[in-house]
């Protein structure tokens, strides 16, 4: 599976819709979203963000993910080479009605956010038994 060489990707900056109150760059995290029978799972790459600095907000079918980072550089460091920018992460998704918004769970590990969005009962696929007549 991993025979492929990883390519460096430029971080995409968020195109502003209205201004942010905090200055500094804002990036769009890369995500994987997959669905199985019970839930929708979202994985987002948010390097530099720990569990305490991530905000997940569900409101009116909008899921908003905001991650805040602590700048890695300490005082007194001079930059010699800068190939990536550091800043907040921000991404917004529209959720379908089928998500049970009360049961969303999240965790952050190694800079990856895992968000599990369980489906409501009626949206789960049911096999319909056909009775022989």
């Amino acid at each position: 599976m991993s025979e492929k060489e990883l390519q460096v990707k430029d971080k995409t900056e968020l195109a502003e819709q209205g201004e942010h109150t905090k200055s500094g760059p804002v990036f769009i995290p890369d995500v994987d979203i997959y669905e199985d029978q019970g839930a929708l799972t979202l994985l987002a790459d948010v390097p530099g963000v720990d569990g305490e600095h991530i905000e997940i907000d569900v409101k009116d079918n909008f899921l908003t993910i905001v991650g805040h980072i602590t700048p890695a550089a300490q005082e007194g460091e001079h930059s010699l080479l800068k190939e990536y920018g550091e800043g907040r992460f921000h991404r917004k998704f529209v959720l379908a009605d089928i998500i049970d918004q009360e049961k969303i769970s999240a965790k952050v590990k190694n800079g990856v956010l895992t968000l599990v969005l369980p489906k409501v009962e009626r949206a789960k696929p049911h096999k319909i038994a056909v009775a022989a007549g």
Binding site: D32, G48, E83
Partner: protein
């Protein structure tokens, strides 16, 4: 004295237009600056992972964003002034039965060499991974550390 018909100068309209023009020009002047505040990138090498390198009097610091990579999946090698970062990023397939809506995160192996700008003390190099950010601290060799030179009165 000739009597001339007075044409009211469209004073206010002009003033407004001037301000609009001024605003546009000022915006243009700053457009290149304000588009990406704080991000002033060096050209990237095109090799994963992207690195940030910085220094202070004592150390060189190399940082990379490697989300989802466990420390044991990264190999660091230092040889002379060359620092090699190799590793692999795997994305566990949660289940073969899942259907993907989006797949933007990538997996694969990587090999990157960085030539360090100064000589470092190989025996004291340390590396940590925290929240998906790799930090390599490379203490500078004694010979290249800045030293104050005392001037003696003759």
């Amino acid at each position: 004295m000739a009597i001339l018909k007075w044409t009211p100068r469209p004073f206010r309209a002009n003033l407004v237009n001037d301000f609009i023009r001024l605003q546009r020009e000022v915006n243009q002047l700053f457009s290149g600056v304000t588009e990406s505040p704080g991000v002033n990138l060096t050209r990237t090498s095109g090799v994963y992972p992207a690195l940030n390198l910085s220094e202070d009097d004592e150390n060189l610091y190399v940082r990379a964003e490697i989300p989802g990579i466990e420390p044991e999946q990264v190999d660091l090698l230092i040889e002379g002034d060359n620092l090699t970062i190799r590793g692999q990023r795997t994305i566990p397939d949660a289940d073969k039965k899942v259907n993907y809506h989006r797949r933007e995160r990538e997996s694969g192996y990587f090999r990157r060499v960085l030539t360090l700008p100064t000589t470092v003390d190989h025996s004291k190099v340390a590396a940590t991974v925290k929240d998906g950010v790799l930090t390599i601290t490379l203490p500078k060799a004694e010979a290249v550390k800045p030293k104050q030179i005392k001037i003696l009165a003759a």
